[in-house]
Symmetry: C2
Subunit: 423 residues, 2 copies
């Protein structure tokens, strides 16, 4: 059993929340001064925990367990959205730090490595740090990355004296598994009174921008029958699409029409153009493909209705990422060990674990978010839930370490294993 110290973990979590503090939340967008200061503080804690620690060329803080050739990698991210919550990402990083401290000097061939990935929140590029770590973003990708402000990523990395540092990289011979604890960022656990969530998969996503082109007319002088109202066509499309996605999706599918633009946008002018940003998510690849086909059929059916042309362009695609069943079982068993209630559930939000999952057995544990709030300074989790989450997570790591030590040599990378028949 790992000798974790809950009070020490809480003190570290609160110390980290001082960097970029805004009321009850934090403002630590990736590569802001507050984010970098927090990363330097994290390095110091990880060094004190006996880890060989670096901040690498993309800003990942990586602490390597000495004297072992294999490890379980634990972590999350310490950047935040603008004026975000104090636990989003930070919780998983500090749990990882505490478990690494507790595991120090522990017998066995497998150690604990800790990582705080850079820019999970996508100030520059979503999951930037974990993409670079796992080899899914290379130098040429990075050259084209700009913030919304127009600033170039490579310039910012240079200014921070990061650009010339070596990169920490995923090592299939060393890294046996990746586990990430995180706040739920949704209402299920809190509403259901459940202590922890065992994540089954991180949902895939399709995002499209649907464009409606009608004609601007004087809204006083143009008879209703002669109009080509792009906004009215959009209203009808949105309502029809909701039904189409409900029919095509599964019971846990979600969709959102989050960005709406109407032009020219005057009270007395019939809308000439409208744009609707549509996204939908599901944990199952076949379900998301069915929703995608239904979406395209709905666009074709709407095109020309109300004398308005309708078309769409894809805006984002994420494939669902399944979590490792052995690690899921470790989490569920660890919850039972400490008398915590647990539920298996998909993650509707993206996380670094979805980037690692194709390379390495990965898993996530959720703790409840009060009122389901996140990405806001009002985000919070009760102290009891934060303490209990650490006990469950540490228990799962103990179980995973025991299981992997028993299994001996590392297996081939996860992505290869899935494609090969069982030996």
């Amino acid at each position: 059993m790992l000798a974790i110290n809950e009070d020490r973990m809480l003190a570290d979590l609160r110390a980290l929340a001082e960097f970029g503090r805004v009321g009850t939340g934090v403002n630590r967008p990736a590569f802001s001064d507050a984010d970098i200061d927090a990363r330097r503080w994290l390095m110091a804690q990880m060094l004190s925990a006996g880890l060989e620690t670096v901040i690498d060329g993309i800003g990942n803080v990586y602490g390597r367990s000495p004297d072992v050739t294999q490890s379980i990698l634990l972590g999350s991210h310490s950047d935040s959205v603008p004026n975000g919550g104090w636990l989003d990402g930070a919780l998983g990083v500090i749990y990882a730090l505490e478990i690494a401290r507790a595991a120090r000097g522990m017998p066995g061939a497998i150690g604990i490595d800790v990582v705080s990935f850079a820019d999970e929140e996508g100030t520059w590029l979503p999951c930037l740090g974990s993409r670079v770590f796992s080899g899914q973003a290379d130098e040429s990708t990075l050259r084209d990355v700009n913030a919304k402000s127009g600033a170039r990523l490579v310039d910012r990395l240079t200014a921070l004296e990061l650009r010339d540092r070596p990169l920490a990289r995923f090592d299939p011979d060393r890294h046996r598994a990746y586990l990430e604890a995180h706040i739920e960022q949704g209402p299920r656990l809190a509403n259901g009174g459940i202590d922890v969530g065992v994540v089954t998969a991180i949902v895939g996503l399709r995002r499209h921008i649907v464009h409606f082109r009608g004609r601007a007319d004087h809204a006083g002088t143009t008879p209703m029958s002669m109009r080509r109202d792009a906004a009215f066509a959009m209203f009808n499309f949105a309502i029809a699409l909701a039904e189409v996605l409900r029919a095509a999706g599964g019971p846990e599918s979600v969709w959102n029409f989050g960005i709406v633009a109407v032009r020219p946008g005057a009270g007395n002018v019939v809308p000439a153009e409208a744009d609707l940003t549509v996204e939908f998510r599901d944990a199952a690849a076949d379900v998301i493909e069915r929703m995608q086909a239904s979406f395209h059929a709905a666009v074709r059916a709407a095109d020309g209705r109300f004398d308005v042309a309708v078309s769409s362009v894809p805006n984002a695609t994420l494939e669902p990422a399944a979590m490792d069943s052995g690690l899921m079982d470790d989490l569920a068993a660890a919850a039972a060990d400490v008398g915590a209630s647990a539920v298996r559930m998909p993650s509707g939000a993206g996380h670094d674990a979805m980037i690692l999952a194709p390379r390495i057995p990965a898993a996530m544990m959720f703790v409840p978010s009060i009122d389901g709030r996140s990405h806001d300074i009002s985000e919070n989790t009760s102290e009891a839930d934060i303490r209990r989450g650490l006990r469950v997570f540490a228990g799962a790591i103990s179980r995973a370490l025991a299981r992997l030590n028993d299994a001996g040599a590392p297996q081939p990378p996860h992505s290869l294993r899935k494609k090969e028949p069982a030996a």
Copy 2:
């Protein structure tokens, strides 16, 4: 019969279009340099036509027929929307100028006065010039008028050396009628192959901003059943409201949902708030009141649906303005005199005539707008339609002059007459 000169009228119309010219249109927002230059040019033309001409303290250019104690007032406006059409307003002003020239020295007690009202288009305040002329906007109103840019009207008037000039005012003892020619700004005449429109009324308008308040949630992690999606509530409301207004309105009622705002406006955030600008118009006061009652019932019915709060605030109100039946008959007879086809129709757009109508018998004549276009540099009317319009309009003035000369002394103001039983 008035000895009008169509070529001279066309030359003046084209000369006026040089002020603020932008391609085939003009950019003459009220009190821009181009607007003021155009007004100084107009003054010179009106002086040459023998009118006693001033530019007054609000920028109205007013030319008074000398040697008569009564007049028919003819005019429109010479300001434009930003990058608007060359005929919107200008047509009515130049028709008036040509008819005043033709009427010079004509026998009879009633002369022709000409006006180009300031800021009909509402760069500062819609129908600003005609409101001041008719006594519906006073000094205290003007002090609070600012442009969208934040500039204060009184400062601009001072800079243009207009502020200390006397105001031209409606005179119930002098002004017997107001007639305004204008482009239709809609598609009815052009689509129907009809030469002129005899305006029966200028429609009334109600405008409301409908506000939807739901809750922002993560669009990946919040189950569909737990959402309070303000945009989706708005989509449903708009479609239901269109049916409600169709049922409550008359065959010529129109409505528009021209401004749509959704916040926070992110692909992965459930919309927390939405605003919809709703306006509806009809020429009949009872119809517009019925639509108004139905609108409020629709807001009440929507409030709370989808767990979204719905409320509305009124944003603008215009009462319908009936045109004078005698002048309408003059216009219809004049059309028949020259073999022009005519239709009686409401004006869906606002005009200075609606400001004058409560004070004085008023009428409007429309010429066709190609493709119904207006408020754009593509606005145009065929030369044949412009020439024919002048013939019809001049014929109607001849008829009105004869009728009013026969009737003798002026009647009480229109607004008073309507309230008194016939003598």
